[in-house]
Symmetry: C2
Subunit: 103 residues, 2 copies
């Protein structure tokens, strides 16, 4: 049984990148109470200084969708919106398994 | 202190995808003994039926490089080579944090 995964990036002006990272780290903190969310990792890359990358693993797609309507998530989305210049879903994934999650 | 991350894909003919997934799951199994490897997750995507995606998180880049010369890794690379049609490093990442790893 595969898990539901997402890999995407949020785009900002370079000067706003660290601010977005801290907002997303708060989002990750709020995910720590959600058992259906196994992975929610925030990254940057020297290759793209105006992007913040998010890799997520959820028990299923519905659990991910439900999380978007949580008040904590909505508040963070509102805080991020003013500095976002774009976003891209790079891949929607079926997680076959590996190290770091329980299937 | 960020961790070292990689997100990439390995390309095969569609018929060989599941075979590659199982080889990479074996690789993930062997990573379970490596403390410096926190995440090694194998995924597919309906969007790209000839690709297998790997998301990795390591304590640092040297730990990742060292793993490539392990005998277990070399054996798996040899087994995968005949069916690989290509590979792409999508992003080299600095993992800022989040849910699923310990910084």
């Amino acid at each position: 049984m595969s898990k539901f995964g997402l890999y995407g990036k949020l785009l900002v002006k370079e000067d706003d990148r660290d601010k977005l990272v801290s907002i997303l780290l708060e989002a990750a903190e709020s995910m720590k109470n959600l058992e259906e969310c196994q992975i929610y990792l925030i990254s940057t890359s020297d290759e793209e200084p105006n992007a913040v990358f998010v890799y997520e693993v959820w028990d299923n797609e519905d659990a991910h969708k439900a999380s978007l309507s949580l008040e904590s998530t909505q508040l963070l989305i509102e805080r991020a919106k003013p500095i976002l210049t774009g976003m891209e879903n790079i891949n929607t994934l079926k997680i076959s398994g590996g190290k770091g999650i329980s299937l």
